[in-house]
Amino acid sequence: MTLVVRGGRILDVETGALNEGDVVCGDGKILAVGPAAAAGASAGAEVLDATGMVVTPGLIDMHVHLRDPGLEYKEDIVSGTRAAAAGGFTSVCCMPNTQPVVDHAAMVGFIQDRAKRLGVVNVYPIGSVSKNLEGRELAEIGDMAAAGIVAVTDDGKPVWNSELMRTALLYSSMYGIPVIAHSEDPHLAEDGQMHFGTWAGVLGLRGIPGAAEASMIARDCMLAELTGGRLHVAHVSTELSLSVIRWARSRGVKVTCEVTPHHLVLTDEEVSRSAYDTNTKVNPPLRTAADVEACRAALRSGEIQAIASDHAPHSPDDKDVEYNLAANGVIGLETTVPVLLTELVGKGHAGLAAVVRAMTAGPAGLLGLKGKGRLAVGMDADITVLNLDKSWRIEPAAFQSRSRNTPFGGWEVRGAAAATIVAGRVVQRNGQLSD
């Protein structure tokens, strides 16, 4: 089966160059890329006309909660991967805080098997650092690495025990996978509902200071230096955190980091503006305008390697409650592309290449995803086609995700994922999934 993506502007995520050309796919791989590459394609090839569109490597969201197994009322592998396809993502990495927890190889196999049978996009499981996320003993990281996990994390909570974190960094380094840190000092963050600052004071909500995040990042960077292990900081949200990471990197620490779309776009004022809408409640919390600008600058400079949505589905029963009782988290798979194209690229806060790189070559590189993240001959035929001109309105009711917890509902946006191609197969086109 051959597919030709014809006549699009192919984005070079390193240089930002947009060159008109074709991408020819066959047997799940990219056979040819470039001007008039279609000429060499077989006669019966399926053609996807990408004229006027931007063609990028398949987007990767390295931080997604698929909630499967155990919390299927929020999301499952079917709805979650359909949401990914709808949003332009060809690969997602799923977090281990399911029920049961992904803390041994059989669970890794379970998710891989379900994803293969039922999923619409590629799914890379991430294993837990500790057994049952209890923060006491290491999970069977070696076994899980052999089964194919791409990282370990206790995401959702920090590894509070410093000795366990040291051990995890050391142990996982044998398998060449990073430890992804959810960095949060539990005492500083206790009962916290939003960012610590004027708005928290005005709204009478307990605040979580940026220091709760940055201080744990500092500790983890020191442990990464001590062990030589690889640290990846999830959802960085403050200028102080970025400063700590910069300092660590200057000392040669192997540390990378990611930022979410909501931390690139929204501030803590949103909690007030929305009159306590629980879709503004997320961990780490929405920060200040200065923090947002620092995240944007670090994205532009490449100090942030990845954009990840931290897609965290919650049912209405988890969110339609008093603010303090609401679950943390927002979904992002179906809003990341339009929101970033509108708010960052469209308003000149970051270039298209920087944004796309952080969802392609960036995560593929730091997680070692073979065959992903670049459009080149021999790579997997995972491709995203972007329509930068489509103006539309985000309607949560139309989401493929089982959940609706987004702060971007009703936003007028410009830009969309016009097509999602996984292993040479078109799985989404103009918002329609191919079933």
Partner: protein, 308 residues
């Protein structure tokens, strides 16, 4: 003129004209409290439910009397005797009360923002009777009303709010209401009990009472919320009292004849000395009376009673 919204949720969201309307209306309704027969037919046929998730003497009673003086039917729900103890959510409770035809829900709740949430669930008017650490708008209005009765206006006055501002919903409502009415508000308390960044609201903060009080026309003492002190934000009540208790010696730092106020309930000997609480400058008891008048005004304006 009428109130803009169906609810009274915060003074942050209320304009000075609306506040003045409420205070002017309170002026004309206040005399009802002193009548031998305290009953006007203004809200006859209206159903008002008070719904308190936290203990209260004065606010709940004040609302209930205000409603009864105007002939509304009132029902009181407290957490311990409601289906909340069976785990019923606020959402379901709200739908239930709405379905019984309540015209107005008056809620006190421990979680900030709960009244905003409730107001989105029901068509009935919602009055915030204190939500977590957020606001207590009717207290703010009765405080303003009390000052206005003695000073004519808040314009140009200096109001010193002393104590646990961090946890105080009263302080937040007072800050919004009084600054919007032209008063200068200063805060005094230990740094661990002062919120971060409030200078952006146009208020100055001091850690020494002695620096905040000079020139004050009003000294407003906040209750130390001992139930919230488990986190050790101050080392001991003894140390707090030594530094912050408003007694005769400290009150004398304010302008001669400065007004002394407190939202109640008081911790005598901790944040306020009995010498001044029961002294000539104290308006603490009058605040309670004025609370009934202000709440009558709010109910009247929200529920659009027939001619008064």
């Amino acid at each position: 003129m009428a109130l803009q919204a169906k609810d009274v949720l915060s003074l942050q969201e209320m304009g000075p004209e609306e506040m003045n309307l409420i205070l002017d209306t309170a002026d004309s309704l206040r005399e009802v409290i002193y009548r031998p027969i305290k009953k006007v037919p203004t809200l006859r046929g209206k159903t008002i439910i008070t719904f308190f998730h936290e203990p209260s003497t004065r606010t709940r009673t004040s609302f209930e009397l205000a409603a009864k003086f105007m002939s509304a039917d009132t029902v009181n729900i407290s957490t311990t005797t409601s289906a909340i103890v069976k785990g019923e959510s606020l959402k379901d409770t709200a739908y239930t009360l709405q379905a019984m035809g309540a015209d107005c829900l008056i809620m006190r709740h421990g979680i900030s923002g709960s009244c905003h949430y409730l107001s989105r669930l029901v068509d009935a008017s919602v009055i915030n009777a204190g939500d977590g650490m957020h606001e207590h708008p009717t207290q703010g209005l009765l405080d303003m009303y009390t000052i206005r009765r003695h000073k004519g206006s808040l314009e140009g006055l200096k109001v010193a709010i002393v104590g646990d501002v961090l946890h105080s919903r009263v302080a937040r409502s007072d800050i919004w209401g009084m600054t919007k009415s032209g008063a200068e508000v200063v805060l005094a308390g230990p740094r661990t009990l002062l919120p971060d960044g409030f200078e952006q609201l146009g208020v100055r903060s001091y850690t020494a009472v002695e620096e905040a009080l000079p020139g004050a026309d009003v000294v407003y003492v906040l209750r130390v919320q001992r139930e919230r002190q488990g986190k050790g934000l101050v080392p001991s009540m003894r140390e707090y009292a030594r530094q912050y208790c408003i007694n005769g010696r400290r009150l004398a730092l304010a302008k001669p004849g400065a007004l002394l106020m407190h939202p109640g309930p008081m911790n005598r000997g901790i944040e306020i000395g009995s010498d001044v609480a029961d002294g000539a400058q104290s308006l603490i008891v009058e605040q309670v009376t004025n609370g009934v008048a202000v709440r009558m005004a709010i109910l009247y304006l929200l529920l659009g009673g027939a001619a008064a």
